[in-house]
């Protein structure tokens, strides 16, 4: 049969292109548009050029939020990944315990983020919260509203509670795909528990771990709802992460121009970091 060479097939991808244009490209372009203009309301805009970007990159407020955010993401990863692996290793592989564990693990993931925030906001309160009340009752001076350190601890514990399950479930999926013969062979080879982990389980989990680290990094770097509900970015600015700062600028102060510039920089940072992560980890994979 003769083949017809033309570009008509491109029309088949038109619907998805239109959809992506409306959901992603057009809103993004609006932000680009705002970021180079100034407005005082009434839909009157004046050209501002790169002014907002220069202002943003030289503002200490932005860099402080950024550093806070990086520290937060680092702590989250440092706790959730090892903890998630540890829990996954200790989950039952067969029997009635499997569905029980899976359901328990999935529960935090099913709760809407603002509800998670509310739960911990109430849980940690000194007057009516179970955690806050009893911590103070046994003599620990805990008050996340006034003490920045307590606020950080609360948010980190909340995030660990909320998201470790994701790492657990991903790792568990990697672990159950290992055939029994590997463990039997390891026994015959006289491998220690650590050697089994290092040479059988960890290599098999590596791919899912890459996904887990990427997801948890991006999510924690963009975290907004939970700390907003619990601390509102306080006390002071101590838990004001980039996204909270952004919303404060855009909606609190209605500075559309600076907020748009900030969004773009934020977006580029996440894109860049994700790319770096991905490249480093896939290259590492290819080398081995």
């Amino acid at each position: 049969m003769d083949k017809t060479w033309n570009n008509k097939a491109w029309f088949l991808v038109l619907p998805v292109l239109v959809l992506v244009a409306f959901t992603a490209v057009i809103p993004l372009m609006t932000v680009v548009n705002y970021s180079v203009q100034d407005t005082f309301g009434n839909n009157v805009f004046t050209w501002a050029g790169t002014e907002w970007f220069e202002e943003l990159l030289s503002s200490s407020r932005f860099w402080e939020a950024m550093v806070r955010n990086l520290i937060f993401s680092f702590i989250i990863l440092a706790i959730e990944v090892p903890l998630g692996i540890f829990i996954a290793l200790n989950m039952p592989k067969k029997g009635w315990g499997v569905p029980v564990c899976l359901v328990l693990m999935s529960l935090p993931l099913l709760i809407p983020w603002n509800v998670v925030g509310t739960i911990w906001q109430v849980f940690g309160r000194n007057d009516i919260g179970l955690l806050g009340y009893y911590l103070n009752a046994i003599g620990i001076d805990y008050n996340y509203v006034q003490d920045p350190f307590d606020a950080w601890v609360t948010i980190i514990v909340m995030d660990v509670w909320h998201w470790t399950s994701l790492v657990v479930l991903l790792c568990y999926a990697g672990l159950v795909s290992i055939p029994d013969a590997f463990y039997q062979a390891a026994k015959i080879d006289g491998a220690s528990r650590w050697a089994v982990f290092r040479y059988i389980q960890l290599p098999k989990m590596q791919r899912v771990l890459l996904i887990a680290v990427l997801l948890r990094f991006m999510d924690s770097f963009m975290i907004y709802t939970e700390p907003f509900v619990v601390t509102g970015g306080g006390p002071g600015n101590s838990t004001t992460f980039l996204s909270i700062d952004l919303v404060k600028t855009a909606l609190g102060q209605f500075d559309l121009g600076p907020a748009a510039a900030m969004s773009l920089v934020y977006f580029l940072i996440i894109l860049l970091l994700s790319w770096v992560f991905y490249t480093v980890m896939t290259n590492y994979d290819a080398e081995r």
Binding site: P179, A185, K187, I188, G190, A191, Y199
Partner: protein, 354 residues
């Protein structure tokens, strides 16, 4: 190397086995001689892998005792028993090199690095992978991976036995033959006690000096390939070994005569058989010609080296093997070569008697 005594071993995967059907392994009592090459042959689910895992210590038997060179090892762990096992799917440590894979069992046992190096190099020579030592194990082909699995066993010079659990299942046909002859060679050179589980009769018959045929959780016959072929102790062995399997038909015995429907077959002796009596004869001993019992031919399969004739005798299916040059006569009749006749009572072979 060791002699392995399996003493009245029974195993059930159920916590409270009551009746015979609860046992995956009904009762096995057998000695694997030091330096022997054994095959455990049987269909899927007959208990052969269970028996193998009991020998290696991956499973602990519900009942019975296991001796290595007379020493009770029933309660020893896999590692303490010091055996090697090769599994159906190649088990390799992906992230390690071929060299490190082979060194792994030695390093785990704290062997000094100089000895590790010497042993690993020897083993690499034995399994023909010396030039691959520094390569990552994950890039190898299935048969090379399976050789590494084997090598991890060979590298420990003091292993009591090497066990194989259908090791050639995932290997390409032409490599199967190569690996099998290398195994035979290793066995001849180093005299390992080898136990080889398979459901493939060709593999079992070519590998082993002694074939252990298992059926429904028990051993039905142990013998050389020739014994299994000539004198199957159980009708199952008759069906299972040989291609096509043995013809088995119900008969009535009276002295030196067996009656099959309206046909009378002269026997070389007068067997004492009671219960459900059957006559078994391999297709190789069924003679097709112009005299004997009338049959109707249903089809002739030409296999190149010989022909298999499928026919009906007294309404029963019967197979006969004839030479490639022979032809089927117009009014075909069959005779049974007396040398190939076996009589079975309740599926077990009875002696022909005088």
């Amino acid at each position: 190397m060791a002699r392995i005594d399996v003493n009245h071993v029974r195993h059930s995967y159920l916590p409270n086995p009551q009746k015979d059907a609860d046992f995956a392994l009904r009762e096995v009592h057998h000695t694997f001689e030091d330096g022997g090459a054994y095959a455990l042959l049987g269909p899927s689910g007959c208990g052969k892998t269970t028996l193998l895992n009991i020998i290696s210590g991956l499973l602990h038997p519900s009942h019975g005792q296991l001796l290595f060179n007379g020493k009770d090892v029933t309660n020893l762990s896999t590692q303490e028993r010091n055996i090697a096992q090769v599994f159906q799917f190649p088990v390799i440590y992906d992230t390690m090199t071929v060299y490190d894979n082979l060194a792994f069992p030695l390093r785990n046992r704290g062997v000094p690095e100089a000895d590790v190096d010497r042993k690993v190099r020897e083993t690499l020579e034995m399994i023909d992978l010396a030039s691959w030592a520094r390569k990552k194990a994950r890039g190898l082909t299935a048969d090379q991976k399976q050789k590494i699995s084997l090598g991890r066993g060979l590298v420990r010079s003091d292993v009591n036995a090497i066990l194989f659990d259908e090791p050639l299942t995932v290997i390409d046909p032409h490599m199967k033959w190569v690996l099998r002859s290398q195994l035979k060679q290793l066995h001849r050179r180093f005299g390992y006690t080898m136990v080889y589980v398979t459901h493939d009769q060709t593999e079992a018959l070519t590998f082993a000096d002694q074939v252990v045929v298992m059926y429904d959780g028990g051993i039905v016959q142990i013998g050389t390939p020739a014994e299994l072929f000539e004198r199957p102790r159980h009708t199952f062995v008759g069906y299972f070994i040989g291609s096509p399997g043995m013809n088995v038909m119900p008969v009535a015995i009276d002295g030196k005569t067996a009656t099959l429907g309206s046909q009378r077959i002269e026997l070389p002796g007068a067997p004492k058989a009671s219960g459900a009596v059957e006559l078994g004869i391999r297709p190789e001993y069924v003679r097709l010609g112009r005299e004997g019992m009338a049959v109707s031919i249903s089809k002739v399969e030409d296999l190149g080296r010989h022909k298999v004739v499928r026919a009906k005798l007294e309404g029963r299916d019967i197979a006969a093997v004839i030479g490639e040059d022979e032809t089927v006569p117009a009014e075909p009749k069959v005779r049974f070569d007396p040398a190939g006749i076996n009589i079975y009572a309740d599926s077990w072979r009875v002696e022909m008697g005088a």
